[in-house]
Symmetry: C2
Subunit: 478 residues, 2 copies
Amino acid sequence: MKTAITPTRAEDFSQWYQNLIVAADLAESAPVRGCMTIKPYGWAIWELMRDEMDKRIKENGVQNANFPLLIPIDYFNREAEHVAGFAKEAAVVTHYRLKKIDGKLQPDPDAELTEPYVIRPTSETIIGEAMSRWVKSYRDLPMKLNQWVNVMRWEMRPRMFLRTSEFNWQEGHNVFATHDEANADARKMHKMYGEYMRNVLSIPCIMGEKTPEERFAGADHTYTVEQIMQDGKALQAGTSHDLGQHFAKSFGIQFLGTSGKLEHAWTTSWGTSTRMMGGLFMTHSDDDGLVLPPAVAPYQVVIIPITRDETADDLNAYGHALATRLRGAGVRVLVDDSDMRSPDKMWKWIKRGVPLRVEVGSREMETDAITVTRRDIGKDSKKTISSAEFVAHVNDMLRQVQYDMLAAAQKRNESMIHNVNDLAELDAALESGKIGFFRIKYDLTTNDKFDAMMEKYKISRRCLDDNDPSYVFVAKSY
Amino acid sequence: MKTAITPTRAEDFSQWYQNLIVAADLAESAPVRGCMTIKPYGWAIWELMRDEMDKRIKENGVQNANFPLLIPIDYFNREAEHVAGFAKEAAVVTHYRLKKIDGKLQPDPDAELTEPYVIRPTSETIIGEAMSRWVKSYRDLPMKLNQWVNVMRWEMRPRMFLRTSEFNWQEGHNVFATHDEANADARKMHKMYGEYMRNVLSIPCIMGEKTPEERFAGADHTYTVEQIMQDGKALQAGTSHDLGQHFAKSFGIQFLGTSGKLEHAWTTSWGTSTRMMGGLFMTHSDDDGLVLPPAVAPYQVVIIPITRDETADDLNAYGHALATRLRGAGVRVLVDDSDMRSPDKMWKWIKRGVPLRVEVGSREMETDAITVTRRDIGKDSKKTISSAEFVAHVNDMLRQVQYDMLAAAQKRNESMIHNVNDLAELDAALESGKIGFFRIKYDLTTNDKFDAMMEKYKISRRCLDDNDPSYVFVAKSY
């Protein structure tokens, strides 16, 4: 059977993903090393994802603010593990003026900065400096801040949405009076991410703590949200860090405690990014293109009038009247009354993953009916019902799609998690081409033999099992 | 009389403005040359401003997208006027890695970029390049795109919100098949800005075209929205540019016309930024602090329980019950049940400009009443009414504040616009210390004598008079 995307997932998952992004008109590579341009349809998805996340962030008592893009090189340097983690991918601003020299526009040698700046790869340092001035007493705590910004980590092997030099994200930075509170909050934001992935993106996640080898540069504990893609690879979709007193000590975040003594605070940071979009696309899409959960679909319903010339005006009007009723029910809807051929319109919206596709032809119009097809199921779900019934039940149908997509992803996840008893079993499974997450005793993965396997199979420790942290999940990853 | 802000506006407007920003906890200077950190209360105002603007942008058929932060130096160079306008304030990225050399973290000499990048000062060039690929035929036009991003123009004389090296803005970029359509759209977005300033920010603006001397670098026509501050100075709060075919030719944005011939398109760009916040603060605020129009007030109502120890719990509960009813009426409300002294709470929210301040004491609670004071009027508006009446009329009251603030600003504007017949009259008016906008024949301002006056009085041509473009408005400016 011919599919809208070639190659198919089974034929070449990686190339399928690249072609999916083109077919759904989501994004393209930019003429800047490792960067991408997110096109309107992709950005509309991100705006919905962002707004749902922002709502949850605010419900957690966090306030948004905005810190500078550039970070003085010296700040970056104050926390040893942090700088070691990010120095190798830092974009550095060294000049503040251009000049034409020998007919060529160049950095003006007379405008070189004495102290260069780094484009933020993350903002623990510059926010730490601000908090050292903003936090004075225990009354100021907890202080919970977040920003939605772009960051930059120079990327040598870029991949659309998954790894790009510039990306958009939210980074939360909280400060507490005690380690217990900080750790509990890092776990709370971690749980919030898990809930968001399930309920908004219909993605069930493996939730757990990173092993010491995989922690964030400068953290005591890193909690991660790991997703399993259809090819069995892991995608780290969000992390929440208990930073201990590392940044509080490096930046002097101190508060006057109830006892009247000056104490160092405890900080956390937590982030999710446009990378989640890659996870969303790779989790649900199929060989005909994108499949979007209704919660983040720019159009939840698309109405396609199946017109012949003599009926076009009437059918378009019928479609627009239906759209008005659906909007009244709170649904995001588009009527495609463009002059494309009807089959082309259908394929356009299949590729873009609109959850419910509604066709209206002369037969439907005569009986005040509609024909609806679910994107996640396809033609087996196609049915003709009265427009009144559709309007009355459209929100139920959308909820059902949202839920069924989660259930399908959950079922696939379960088939992709494998217990292995020792490294020999793991080796055999990987050698035989088995895909997914392998659950193994953590202490088995802290030796030279496992290091060699990581190298050989490109696997890594994803996270400890929350139910029994003596086990770790191991997988290939994006 | 003692005011919350010293010096007062009359004593030292410039210092008053700086102190206002501190008193209302809006922002602070960042440890990055010319940059600022926008604090939570300031950012909450911006989010409301942004959402109102974004709604209007989408209603105009514009789609949001996201283009890269960095621009290849060569792109920047392709439009001659454009590069001349921005080269002197460009932040340049020259390296992609840091390295410790002689114990000091520095740009790694082995990671120097062959072609440096400029942090976008605006995105006509990189968006032009994308459009040259995205626009193929007349069917693709008009194409209307916008992005909400940070940009950077190295600033030697920074001033909070008004001129900062990094700032946040929206930049719209539209493409059309004909010059007429492009020009009409540039004017339409200009009008949209004017409507937004009036209805959302309660600021009446002088709307007109920039003279050729003041145009955007690379535009045929620039339409500007000029605001008159309380000190009589002009603030350019938004611009819309008819770019002719400058960028279409530099970047090859061509389309197959209805006639079957390849033609260059016509482009526009239009932008507003966090600078508007400076205009908002300087237009409405007084010697006691910020005064916010309800449309962009993070809290439209603040409820302050005037507690004595024995009544605190009851009064706080009374305040929260009232807040719930107000939220039901769609109002953004805060109950300040912190343990600050009541007068300190009152001054805190006066300085932060909350439109309606509600006090509830034992007397109010006993009679199910509230005492409300309008921030824009002060104690003359203070009245005690039943809580039921307040809840029933709160939206009317907020609309009245919104309208009265516009009317007050309009009245002040009118007193600050002066007709002058010749340069001698202008000279005399400025010499005598008269403040505001001076309306004068445009041809009188295109000679050496006027150039000398611009230098002497730090004035500039703000825009032509839309009603009679042979006249120009001249003023000092931010």
